[in-house]
Amino acid sequence: MDSFLTSRVVTDILGGLTNGAIYGLVALSLVLVWRATRVLNFAQGAMPMFATYLGMGLLSYHWPYWVCVGVCLVAAFAIGALTERVLVRPLYGKPEINPIVVMVGYLIILEAFAAAIWSTTPRSLPAPFSPIDWRLAGQPVGLSPFSLFEVVTALVVMGAIVTLFRFTRLGLQLRASALAPEVSRLLGVRVGRMLTLGWMLSTAVGAVTAILVASNFFTGLTPQLMDGIFAFGFIAAAVGGLDSPVGAVASGIALGVVLQFVGDFLNSNAIILVALGILIVSLMVRPNGLLTRSTARRV
């Protein structure tokens, strides 16, 4: 293999990891909500987008960058909690299309409000680290301080979520509320709060994702920021299995790498086509996701 090809492959893998980390985060946020409340949240991109506008808007009032990030997270927690309490709670036990439609309506309204308040003109966010690739022997290596930051952030967030779920009392209650709400209540778990918390966590993970995406020089922050990313995140979550946080993250990263190669060796239009093909094929092979143990549906 000649060195040009080698460097191209390495660059693609590194670039793919960066994108994949983003897809994995979106997939993770979808899984958090799905496991807790059996709602596929189509506003999963729009809610954090709104939080990001609220927090990062303070940059124009000369608030420090990291304080703005903190405000974004707080706003995300608030939006997540409000959404679950007001919009989602009346939908439990209703036919499964009802929450789908409501969340699509919510997506429309959030994007419209964001555009009405902040306009559709992209707003550039400063990247906290340089987005210019490191160079090796004069060649860009496909990895910049900022993209490294993206990957590290994604890994930290994923690690934090897994730790929370696996090893803490709170995580135990979160999982139990999702799996067996009635039994959990009999054991004194405040299931209602756990469901709200699931939405809050999910929106916060989304806000981290939205900030990373919007910090990209080419996109900037727009009301439709997350539409396309959401589609990839959903594909990752569906391929990995909506019930499996680890599966969602893993397939998000894998999807990012595969699609980077597709974009590089075929063309950019083929990316979403291949992603759609992967989704269709994987759903035909394993309707509940490739990385979940197949369980019979509860009747």
Binding site: R169, R175, L179, A180, L186, L187, V189
Partner: protein, 235 residues
């Protein structure tokens, strides 16, 4: 002590319980007997707050439980082992126990040690998924999970369901021992009247949502009419 007063529960137009009153004394086992559909499970679910009654009250000692949420009632010391045990199959044995200990006031490690001592088989299988347990082991896990929170009341819904006679006998012995040593108020719902009456102090017989007998267990066990018509116990 659990006091149920004139409790009426309806699902739409169907009455599950009509004006049911009963008392479960502290430190005693009160058996609630009756055929399928007599309202036994509904009674327990109403006590623990899963079902809202149409009228009537449930109290724990002096405190009224009616209209409280199930999680609050659990936190007041009512442990409910539901029908079918409600063991979370996706959790390991230990995770199930940890979940039960959420509302406990004793340190988790002590609680776990105590339960593993009382149910050694659970200790051996602590890292296994509950899905792998046998019926009897699941029942033990469900009981241990309720007990780890140190409840003052234990509601048991059909613990013998699906268990072999020998296992049932063992289980009943455990319940009797727990009740005596911990001063527990036990409400034991059973279709298997004979094994329940063997350990119960008091028995209440329900038929289609109404109380047809409320007497010491020995009396109920001796009543030929009750045995034949309501308890399906034929020599």
């Amino acid at each position: 002590m659990i006091t149920v007063e004139r409790l009426t529960v309806a699902f739409g137009a169907v009455y599950a319980l009509r004006e049911v009153s009963l008392r479960a004394e502290t430190g005693k086992i009160t058996a609630v007997l009756g055929a399928n559909g007599a309202g036994k499970t509904t009674l327990l679910r109403t006590i623990s707050g899963l079902v809202a009654p149409k009228s009537g009250t449930v109290s724990l000692d002096e405190r009224v439980l009616t209209r409280r949420k199930p999680e609050e009632i659990a936190r007041l010391g009512v442990g409910h082992v539901p029908e079918g045990r409600g063991v979370i199959a996706e959790f390991t044995v230990e995770e199930n126990l940890r979940l039960g200990a959420i509302v406990a006031r004793v340190p988790l490690a002590d609680g776990l040690d105590e339960q593993y001592e009382a149910f050694p088989v659970l200790g051996q299988r602590r890292k296994q998924h509950a899905a792998k347990l046998s019926g009897g082991e699941r029942q033990m896990l469900a009981m241990a999970r309720a007990l780890i929170a140190r409840p003052s009341v234990l509601l048991l819904d059909e613990p013998s369901l699906g268990l072999a006679p020998l296992v049932t006998a063992q289980l009943m012995a455990t319940v009797a021992e727990l009740c005596a040593t911990r001063d527990l108020t036990v409400v034991l719902v059973e279709q298997n009247a004979s094994s329940a009456l063997r350990i119960a102090h008091h028995a209440v017989v329900l038929n289609v949502g109404t109380v047809v007998a409320d007497a010491p267990a020995a009396e109920v066990a001796a009543d030929e009419r009750l045995r034949q018509y309501y308890l399906g116990m034929v020599e």
